[in-house]
């Protein structure tokens, strides 16, 4: 692989990693903090993409960002409502919302399964204009995404150390304790999922604008990809302060994209992405369990060996 090709691989991984790391940070909030595996992530990512693209196509690229975040927040609110107020299992609540969002997303795109942003202004083309003639020329995707990531990491570091943030973290840890601190865990779950899904929406919005189109399948498999990144990040930088761990999430997203991009260069077909992420997630979650079980397994194997020898 020549140096310029390598650079291009790094560039793509950086851009995609930064954009997707927003979804990873969303799962950092819902999966790591609230202990809720939010399966509406795929649909919510697409929702953010669709809303962002439609608003940008209408000529309001800057407005597209808060619009996508607000849409994500609404989606998170409904997921949270289903699991806290209507007694629906949290995994099922995510699946239900995810299914419903498919129709919503097509409706948002006026009945079509995609929105084209070709020759339309997006936050990226705006930045491209600003960067023209500076040393960062051509880096508009990375710059916009980096700004978003820095803002979100700063926000999470602040938010998760406030009283409300502490309560959200405790909700996933020990809901009894939240209740005995006179805080309603229903409230913390709703707030947590709203914020998380706003971030997922933002991630989808940036993804659509960076590739200048939104389509109905843009978010498919996102939850697994983001979980894989999250687990990589948690392995690399899973201890320490909230800031360290949040940065770890961004690093995890980048490493995941880098590995994937290199694999693509080595002639792995693009459609393998989701299988790779599935395997990573399955392994990352299974390994600690297997490690724990290993003494029992090895003892059983040894026992079988001796039993055989005895015969």
């Amino acid at each position: 692989m020549n140096p310029s090709a390598l650079l291009a691989v790094g560039q793509t991984a950086l851009e995609l990693g930064l954009i997707c790391s927003l979804t990873v940070l969303a799962l950092f909030l819902s999966y790591s903090m609230l202990d809720v595996c939010d399966l509406s992530t795929d649909g919510c990512f697409t929702l953010g993409a669709a809303v962002g693209a439609v608003v940008a196509a209408a000529g309001y690229p800057l407005l597209s960002i808060p619009a996508a975040m607000l849409a994500g927040m609404c989606s998170g609110f409904i997921t949270a409502l289903l699991q806290t107020k209507l007694g629906i299992n949290s995994l099922l609540a995510g699946i239900i919302v995810n299914t419903g969002l498919y129709s919503v997303n097509i409706a948002v795109m006026s009945g079509s399964s995609n929105v084209n942003l070709n020759k339309k202004d997006t936050v990226f083309t705006m930045m491209k204009g600003l960067l023209a003639g500076t040393p960062l020329k051509g880096q508009h995707v990375a710059v916009v995404s980096a700004i978003a990531v820095v803002l979100v990491v700063a926000f999470l570091t602040f938010f998760l150390n406030t009283r409300l943030g502490l309560a959200i973290r405790a909700t996933g840890n020990n809901p009894d304790m939240v209740r005995s601190s006179s805080i309603n865990p229903v409230f913390t779950t709703i707030v947590g999922l709203c914020v998380a899904n706003a971030l997922t929406g933002l991630s989808g919005c940036l993804m659509a604008q960076s590739q200048q189109s939104a389509e109905i399948n843009i978010g498919t498999g996102m939850v697994t990809i983001a979980l894989a990144s999250l687990l990589i990040g948690a392995t690399l930088m899973g201890r320490g302060s909230i800031f360290t761990r949040a940065v770890g999430m961004v690093v995890g997203a980048f490493v995941f994209r880098l590995v994937y991009a290199i694999a693509l260069r080595l002639d792995m077909p693009a459609f393998m992405l989701r299988l790779v992420s599935s395997v990573i997630v399955a392994l990352a979650i299974a390994l600690p369990y297997l490690k724990e079980q290993w003494p029992v397994i090895s003892r059983r194997l040894a026992y079988r060996q001796t039993a055989k020898g005895g015969n």
Binding site: N173, R179, S182
Partner: protein, 261 residues
């Protein structure tokens, strides 16, 4: 302070598993009362605590705490004025968060977006030092690293950080080794007498039941069968207590974990 009137709770009504956990129970505690509670297995001691805390709503009767009717108040709102410790030391704190973060959450001062201040940390450190367990130097460590005794002591601090109107102790020292149990018990006594908190404590230790507090309740089959205080309680021995129980409940105390000495 606490006035429970004619409260009842039946679990799984109308099924073969029907369990009448509390039956028409009435109880009146004066401010500053320290009540020890003993009773047979399944007498309804923990159910009574759960009812007071609002884990479920009672089927009948009213609960009034400090002049406020809390019969239908949700559990998390009652927690503002009720502190509670369980037998399981793991239930009271969040293992993935640091000691100071746990304390900050329990202290509950400031608005939703307030941060821990240097003053708060100093206050936490001073409180932790009272435990004499060296926790004041480990404030940035996750609570999951503490031993059961340390966690229970921390939970006691958390529950009394803002002195509650009522403190419920459900065998909170039963799962600890004797030395630690003694320490946590002494701490409980100190905190309760310092803030004059009205306290109810379930125990299996009959001596403890007579030694601690100013009043002893005996429960059986969902009701209070014996309520001794004042002169009657002074000089009472464990044998007297068991005799009284038998006379009032109509059967001997049946508790497989009871400690007679």
């Amino acid at each position: 302070m606490l006035k429970i009137t004619n409260s009842s709770k039946t679990f799984n009504p109308g099924t073969v598993n029907e369990k009448r956990a509390i039956t028409g129970l009435s109880l009146h505690l004066a401010p500053g009362d320290f009540v020890t509670i003993i009773g047979s297995n399944g007498a309804g001691k923990s159910t009574l605590f759960n009812a007071i805390c609002g884990d479920f709503l009672t089927d009948a009767g009213t609960i009034v705490l400090d002049g406020r009717d809390i019969t239908f108040t949700p559990a998390f709102k009652r927690a503002k004025v009720i502190g509670r410790l369980f037998q399981d030391p793991m239930r009271g704190s969040a293992p993935g968060m640091t000691i100071e973060e746990n304390l900050a959450l329990a202290a509950g001062s400031g608005g939703w977006f307030s941060h821990m201040r240097a003053g708060d940390k100093k206050r936490f450190r001073d409180r932790l030092a009272l435990l004499d367990m060296g926790l004041e130097d480990r404030m940035k460590q996750p609570v999951g690293l503490l031993s059961g005794g340390q966690r229970q002591a921390l939970t006691l601090l958390m529950a009394t950080m803002n002195p509650p109107k009522l403190l419920l102790l459900d065998e909170h020292t039963a799962a600890l080794d004797p030395g630690t149990a003694e320490k946590v018990l002494k701490l409980t006594r100190d905190i309760v007498s310092e803030h004059k908190i009205t306290t109810m404590m379930v125990t299996h230790n009959m001596n403890q039941a007579l030694e601690l507090g100013n009043r002893t309740l005996m429960m059986d089959r969902g009701g209070i069968v014996l309520d001794i205080r004042g002169k009657e309680r002074e000089g009472l021995t464990v044998d007297d207590l068991l005799e009284k129980f038998k006379a009032n409940a109509g059967r001997a105390m049946n508790n497989d974990r009871i400690l007679l000495s």
